[in-house]
């Protein structure tokens, strides 16, 4: 075990995966000499050289399209998109090509590609360095989408992604890149996809969160405990596949559910959780399902603290849900 920040855990995962398999390589903007604008690829260029840590020209569609071609041949590229906000030039490559290659080729061309990208607000990044648009990708069959909230999960989920023959979108909560530290296992210890993590057990209300929303959700649960409300916190970790059993089991215990994400609410991932509970846990529900989310506006610069859910807004919604009759 080593104490690492979340971004250090990503870096460690990349380094170990590249040491273990010469087919693994990294490509993206500023990932080489500079070690990535967030330093997630620090030291890799020096250790593995320019043919495995590739500073590409500035083109997201070029990065993902080239990564697809590498994977068609059998390499295992890990593409970095500098911010999720900048991924859209590659959207066509991701949804039209990457997600569909294995299906449309009858399994002849799997696409062993990982796309890592920092996402989310809280870093004074304004409209174009803050968004949380995971739902676009979760809506595309053929992609897996995972979001760690701890250093151990960052490394463990990344190793699972690198060993997965299907494409994986690996979303990194940049707001907690350095604010969260934790013990990270040495070596090839993988965290499986589709298994949620119960951060805190409780009996009165279930709080579902992922990524950078996990710390304020835990803080909200602590506040609620002082009010005599026992909140269970579930870190989904993996959006596709979703751990449906864990989501349902928690509500069967508590009867009340609050979904938290920083993405805009309308057609956001929380709607899928709410639909799942309505379809499969309806008779366990004692109160309407609540969502605590970003506003249905573009992401603001000056008012980002108003835009983002926080421990107070989460606790407020959870309290109302826990007490609803």
């Amino acid at each position: 075990m080593t104490e690492l920040t979340l971004v250090q855990a990503v870096n460690r995962g990349l380094q170990e995966a590249m040491r273990a398999d010469s087919d693994v390589l990294v490509l993206g903007e500023d990932v080489g000499v500079n070690g990535g604008v967030f330093r997630a690829t620090e030291g890799l260029f020096k250790e593995f050289g320019a043919e495995r840590v590739i500073d590409t020209p500035l083109s997201e569609t070029g990065i993902v399209g080239t990564a697809i071609g590498m994977a068609l041949y059998g390499l295992k590229p890990i593409a970095e998109i500098q911010f999720l906000d900048f991924i859209y030039p590659a959207f066509d490559q991701i949804v039209s090509e990457l997600a569909k290659f294995r299906y449309r080729s009858g399994g002849q061309y799997p696409c062993h590609v990982v796309i890592r990208t920092p996402y989310g607000g809280g870093i004074r990044g304004g409209l174009y360095h803050s968004q949380s648009t995971e739902a676009y990708f979760c809506h595309t069959p053929g992609l897996k989408v995972v979001v760690p909230s701890t250093p151990a999960d960052a490394k463990g989920l990344l190793l699972t992604a690198v060993h997965d023959e299907d494409p994986v979108l690996f979303l990194e909560p940049k707001r907690i890149y350095r604010s969260v530290t934790g013990e990270v296992p040495e070596g090839d210890v993988r965290v499986p996809f589709g298994v949620a993590r119960t951060v805190r057990e409780g009996t009165d209300v279930s709080l579902y969160a992922y990524g950078a929303m996990v710390p304020p959700t835990v803080e909200a649960a602590e506040t609620l405990a002082a009010d005599g409300i026992s909140a269970e916190v579930i870190d989904l970790r993996s959006l596709v596949p979703l751990d449906e059993a864990a989501v349902i089991a928690s509500v069967e215990k508590t009867g009340r559910a609050v979904v938290v994400h920083e993405a805009a609410r309308f057609c956001g991932y929380g709607g899928e959780i709410a639909a799942l509970l309505a379809e499969k846990a309806f008779y366990s529900l004692k109160a309407p399902i609540a969502r605590v989310t970003g506003y249905d506006t573009p992401f603001p610069y000056a008012l980002e603290n108003l835009y983002l859910p926080n421990a107070q807004t989460i606790a407020h919604a959870a309290r109302a849900t826990a007490r609803a009759t």
């Binding site: 590498m70 490559q93 009858g106 069959p141």
Partner: protein, 351 residues
């Protein structure tokens, strides 16, 4: 198919052909002729079947045969074809079976891709022919990545990216050529410029003097070639591939061809093509141009020519007969070859 007086002759003596094609020039030309006739025959039969409602869709490559056949013959097994829209014949020349391809056209249970893609979108990994989408230009960076992988594994081989004239306006054309130039990769960019992106003529696609000239912006060379002249196409492919194999980086070939059919079975070119187009295209028919040269140079006796057509008709007919009796894909294949963890009967509203 007999050469009319308006066909533009191939301007070569046998000696000149040998310079372009190499020592085995006559067998290359005869082989090319047989494949081109097969492609032409297949296009004619499948377009008729589409009109009869027996296949759902068809995109002919009539007019592109010299490019597709030359690409199949000039490449080696270790090379890769990343198709754009009309390169299916290259897969057949490289060894993909006509019968399997026809199962794909009928989207039946013996289509290797389980009838998931529209007809004329085959997958043939066994001959290094990549699966294609219907999106324009997205395939071009895939050839760049394949070329990178070939080089990083120290494997021989060149990645050939095919695309049409319209694709040269798309984002991924720029991204791919820029990456390939920057990384000096073994990629051959092959633009099949059939002068029409559905209804928009190539003159409205760009103000550049040629599509080949665009290579200059990416730090490598490009050449425009008469894509209806098999000798020129094969010769340029051969020399470009040799240069790339020698480590000289990427190259762009623009093959000017004439689209001799509608864009697809869903298109009506009478709405936009000038009335002179069909005659102009017929004068540049790559099959009759090659055939005329072979006849003039006594390499294609009348009985041999008849035999080529009879054999093409017979193999196409046999492939269609085999495919047409095959059932559609098993319903269970709907959820195979894709990660679909949340698929359930509920997806279709069945409780």
């Amino acid at each position: 198919m007999s050469p009319g007086p308006s066909v533009v002759p191939l301007p070569y003596s046998p000696d000149q052909v040998e310079q372009h094609l190499g020592a085995d020039w006559s067998s290359v030309m005869l082989s090319a002729y047989r494949w081109m006739v097969l492609g032409r025959t297949l296009d004619a039969r499948m377009q008729a079947l589409q009109r009869q409602g027996r296949v759902g869709f068809y995109g002919a490559a009539t007019g592109h045969e010299a490019v597709n056949v030359a690409a199949g013959l000039a490449t080696r097994p270790e090379d890769w074809i990343v198709p754009g829209l009309r390169e299916q014949l290259s897969a057949l020349v490289r060894g993909h079976s006509l019968e399997t391809y026809t199962h794909h056209l009928f989207a039946d249970d013996r289509d290797p891709a389980r009838g998931r893609n529209m007809p004329c979108h085959p997958t043939a990994r066994e001959v290094h022919y990549v699966s294609m989408s219907s999106v324009i230009g997205t395939q071009i960076p895939h050839a760049v990545g394949l070329a990178f992988a070939l080089r990083s594994r120290s494997d021989a081989g060149v990645a050939l990216a095919f695309f049409g004239d319209g694709a040269t306006s798309a984002n991924d054309f720029h991204a791919a050529l820029n990456f390939a130039g920057d990384l000096r990769l073994p990629v051959l960019f092959c633009c099949a410029n059939n002068q029409w992106a559905i209804s928009v003529p190539v003159s409205r696609q760009t103000a550049a003097p040629s599509l080949a000239s665009k290579a200059t912006a990416y730090g490598f060379a490009g050449t425009r070639v008469d894509g209806t002249d098999f000798v020129a196409v094969y010769g340029h492919l051969r020399s470009a591939l040799a240069e790339i194999r020698a480590g000289h980086g990427p190259f762009l070939l623009e093959f000017v061809v004439y689209r001799m059919t509608p864009h697809s079975s869903s298109d009506d070119p009478k709405r936009y093509q000038p009335p002179t187009w069909n005659d102009e295209a017929a004068a540049h028919d790559p099959v009759t141009r090659l055939e005329s040269w072979l006849v003039t140079n006594h390499l294609l006796p009348a009985d041999e020519r008849a035999r080529v057509f009879t054999e093409a008709e017979a193999s196409v007919r046999a492939a269609i007969e085999a495919a047409e009796g095959t059932p559609p894909p098993n319903p269970g294949s709907l959820t195979e070859d894709v990660y679909s963890p949340h698929v359930s009967a509920a997806s279709s509203g069945v409780p």
